[in-house]
């Protein structure tokens, strides 16, 4: 079964096509074209280079974020339209899961961190498990200083990955040897990992509802937050 993966939740966008035998084509860009400009020509190129057509695809996998709202929507909109037109199943995965999956052989607890702008980060903790990863905390958005406190209060050492970890490096380095920083090559979630992680879900027929699938925002629009504060409600 051939699956197309689309990841656009960070400043880097990527697409990949693969099956249980591995990824057979992929494209990635982190500068220049907007995600919306990049996606379809890139997907077309992957198909052309491998002698495939859209109708060879048996499923669409998409990263739901958390990440940049507009970027994520470009990917989710494209994925939904492809799945709707082709009448194939769609599977949505969290961007943070992809980051953690990429370094699943690490013996430590993994903390995947993405830049959420406005001085905050998206994050979740994972441990490796046979054949993959297991998420231990809910997806969260908070200030890096608060995340650092959370890490310091854990008994084990943590390996941090993602552009949010690198952006707030000074904050996390204060933790000393408790927190190890991942390298640049693991700073963005990628479509390769998405395809690999989504394939079992297609085989289990554990796909998402095309109509209900939407990005994982973790945060209301700025206007809604402001409005809730005025009315004395705490933002959910």
């Amino acid at each position: 079964m051939l699956v197309l993966g689309i990841e656009t939740s960070t400043p880097q966008a990527s697409v990949a096509i693969g099956s249980e035998q591995g990824v057979i084509a992929g494209a990635l860009v982190a500068r220049g074209a907007s995600h919306n400009e990049f996606l379809l020509p890139a997907i077309r190129w992957c198909l052309d280079e491998t002698g495939l057509g859209f109708r060879s695809l048996g499923g669409i996998a998409v990263s739901l974020g958390p990440g940049l709202f507009t970027g994520t929507r470009a990917g989710v909109a494209t994925a939904k339209a492809l799945a709707q037109t082709l009448s194939v199943p769609i599977v949505g995965m969290a961007s943070l899961d992809l980051l953690a999956y990429d370094i699943r052989y690490a013996p430590k607890t993994i903390c995947a961190v993405l830049d959420a702008r406005r001085s905050e980060v998206f994050h979740a903790f994972y441990r490796s498990s046979p054949g993959g990863i297991q998420r231990m905390t809910r997806y969260a958005v908070e200030r890096p200083e608060r995340l650092a406190i959370g890490i310091a209060s854990r008994p084990e050492e943590v390996l941090m990955v993602g552009n949010g970890a690198l952006l707030y490096r000074e904050v996390f380095e204060e933790l000393g040897s408790v927190a190890e920083m991942g390298t640049m090559s693991h700073s963005f979630p990628e479509a390769r990992a998405l395809v690999e992680l989504a394939l079992p879900r297609f085989f289990r027929e554990d796909s998402d509802s095309l109509f209900d699938l939407k990005p994982l925002y973790l945060r209301h629009s700025a206007k809604r937050i402001e409005w809730d504060l005025i009315r004395g409600k705490t933002p959910a």
Binding site: A33, S34, N36, E37, F38, L39, L40, P41, A42, I43, R44, W45, D48, F54, R55, F69, T70, R73, A74, V76, A77, T78, K80, A81, L82, Q84, T85, L86, L210, F211, K214, P215, Y217, S221, A222, K223, R224, W227
Partner: protein, 354 residues
């Protein structure tokens, strides 16, 4: 990678006929819409999911909330549009989507979906200018408009007078120098404490008030050009109400609404008719959401009648944002061989005339 602009492999003139089915997608503002139009003229379906309720709390459209709503509403809207038209994806000959102008986060959802569908179906993608789409709403009404025509595009986001010589050939005559007409109506309504959206509320209250109660200034009426200004009028209303309140006088909201609408309509109709005369236009077209305003419709109808000019105003459901007009405009572009590459993106400031 192949040059996305060079993907036009079909001969448009050989491909086009009156049976051509275009799927239209419109997500530029706060309506999520999908439509199927045959031959550029016949609406097979025109599904519109309005988000007005989502924005009512805020008294205006919140772009991020609108974009979130589009991505949820578009998939079912497209499904229903195909179902109502009794066609499948594979019957579609081209996909037209609004490229701009509009809210960038909103446009992006529609553009991404329209391009993806065109790519899968291996049919042309046509990126449509939203304003040009409004003009083509008059091609879907009965009788359809003919070019050349003077056109007033008047909505919550836009107010402009253009002369349409032919498909794709426009001369800009005038527009608002500040607020769009609908924007001014909404702001005045909000100031008067009316419900959102305020434009229709002002129109409704106008019928109960005296339009000659207060003489608000007709901005730019003595200017040579065809530009209008709504901001000054809006400020005049606010100043008037504040003065009344300060002096302890009773404020009649229907009188203010009626007088404001009267001033706005007089200014707009005056400039539009002057532009029509200047161009020697043989007909006048009014489109866009504010074309639903009863005062504007009747004043423009009277002015056109006095000059024996036929007036074309599409039905309300085609005046407000909808995908059928995008499909109709897309059909005209398709017929002219004007396709868009799959590398295209949304342009929030896309001008009508390049």
């Amino acid at each position: 990678m192949a040059n996305p602009a060079a993907e036009t492999k079909l001969d448009p003139f050989a491909e086009w006929d009156d049976a051509t089915l275009v799927l239209g997608i419109e997500t530029s503002c706060d309506e999520t819409s999908a439509a199927v139009v045959q031959g550029g003229r016949k609406i097979l379906s025109n599904v519109i999911a309005s988000q007005t309720d989502l924005h009512a709390d805020y008294g205006g459209i919140v772009p991020e909330i609108a974009a979130r709503a589009h991505i949820e509403a578009l998939t079912p809207a497209i499904g229903v549009a195909l179902l109502q038209a009794d066609v499948t994806f594979w019957d579609i000959d081209a996909v037209a989507g609004t490229l701009g102008p509009g809210l960038v986060g909103c446009l992006l959802v529609g553009v991404a979906e329209a391009k993806s569908m065109a790519a899968v179906l291996d049919v042309p993608f046509v990126g449509v200018n939203h304003l040009e789409g409004h003009l083509y709403s008059a091609m879907l009404s009965d009788p359809p408009v003919q070019w050349p025509s003077l056109a007033l595009i008047i909505s919550g986001g836009h107010t402009m007078t253009v002369y349409v010589k032919d498909h794709g050939s426009y001369e800009m005559l005038g527009g608002t120098v500040d607020d769009a007409a609908g924007e001014a109506f909404d702001k005045v309504a909000r100031f008067l404490g009316l419900d959102y959206p305020g434009g229709p509320e002002i129109d409704r209250l106008s019928l109960l008030g005296d339009p000659s109660a207060i003489r608000f200034p007709r901005a730019m009426s003595r200017d040579e050009g065809f530009d209008v200004s709504y901001s000054g009028l809006k400020t005049a209303v606010i100043n008037h109400v504040r003065k009344m309140e300060a002096s302890g006088a009773e404020v009649s909201v229907p009188d203010i609404a009626a007088s404001f609408q009267q001033a706005a309509v007089e200014m707009q109709v005056g400039k539009t008719m002057a532009a029509a005369e200047h161009m020697g236009s043989e007909r006048v077209l009014m489109c866009g959401g504010v074309a639903a305003n009863s005062g504007l419709r009747s004043a423009l109808a009277t002015a056109c009648e006095e000059r024996s000019l036929p007036l074309y105003v599409p039905p309300i459901e085609l005046c407000t944002d909808n995908a059928a007009m995008i499909a109709a405009c897309g059909s005209a572009m398709l017929r002219a061989g004007n396709y868009t590459g799959l590398g295209a993106s949304a342009d929030p400031n896309l001008p009508l005339i390049r």
